[in-house]
């Protein structure tokens, strides 16, 4: 489990944050998912997919239980601690990307985060979301086209 955290911890956090939009809820979701992982009697066939699915479910649970407890992260899944040294162009792109992502449907947004930022393959996303690979690919392509339109125009 520790190897899984070392390898995928940041990506799991990004995926959890994409759902909760609140850093502390995202961390709680990861903690909960790992606690569930510790209680497993058998190692799942695809532990990576299992952990991403478990974190997603825990994030949805956290959001349902504690929706109004804290403020939303302004920069969505992006680093808000870059400080004054961050290039203006980079800062602008960050805000545009965050705004554009939040204008997408939940499925499109989550698929883009999972594929582009968490480096999951479409097959892995399909396994995690329990949808067909065609549906997942379609969410991604549609979402990306919308984002391109929003960011570049």
């Amino acid at each position: 489990m520790e190897k899984i955290y070392d390898q995928y911890g940041s990506r799991l956090y990004t995926c959890a944050l994409a759902v909760t939009r609140r850093p502390e809820l995202a961390e709680d979701a990861i903690h909960e998912a790992f606690c569930r992982g510790f209680r497993l009697t058998e190692v799942p066939r695809n532990l990576k997919a299992y952990m991403f699915r478990s974190v997603r479910n825990a994030a949805i649970d956290q959001l349902r239980q504690r929706r109004k407890t804290s403020s939303l992260s302004e920069d969505y899944i992006f680093d808000s601690s870059a400080g004054p040294r961050e290039l203006v162009e980079q800062k602008q792109l960050k805000h545009q990307a965050a705004e554009a992502l939040l204008k997408l449907s939940e499925d499109e947004r989550e698929t883009i985060v999972q594929h582009l930022y968490a480096d999951l393959t479409f097959q892995e996303i399909a396994d995690i979301r329990q949808r067909s690979i065609g549906t997942v690919t379609s969410w991604y392509r549609r979402g990306l086209a919308k984002m391109k339109d929003l960011v570049e125009n």
């Binding site: 520790e2 850093p23 990861i30 903690h31 870059a82 980079q90 582009l116 930022y117």
Partner: protein
Amino acid sequence: MDDFEARLKSVPLAKPSADMKRIIFGTEPGLSRLIGVFRRRIPLGWAAAFALATGIAGISGSQMWGGGAAAPLQPVVHVQIIKSPSDRNLFDFTVPAKDFMPGELTVNVQAPKEI
């Protein structure tokens, strides 16, 4: 990955707090492994056998070292002050009395029959 995807991917992502791993896996690297051992479920038969063996070992140990007899209870005397010449607790011997206190002291003493 096209140019637009590459541009989006270049934006740095938020990271979990530094404490996150410590919270999940414990403070020491070895601790998580130890916790992992205890978190693993063991078959019911093994658990029952372990409980039985522990019980038998406990009973035989107590017989071997003469631990079978219960330790005698210390008798307790209850003293209730009914009438006292002072507000001070006259049975508090942790503080030395400054002077002799004249007056009448009425107490009710209850002692177990064994005394």
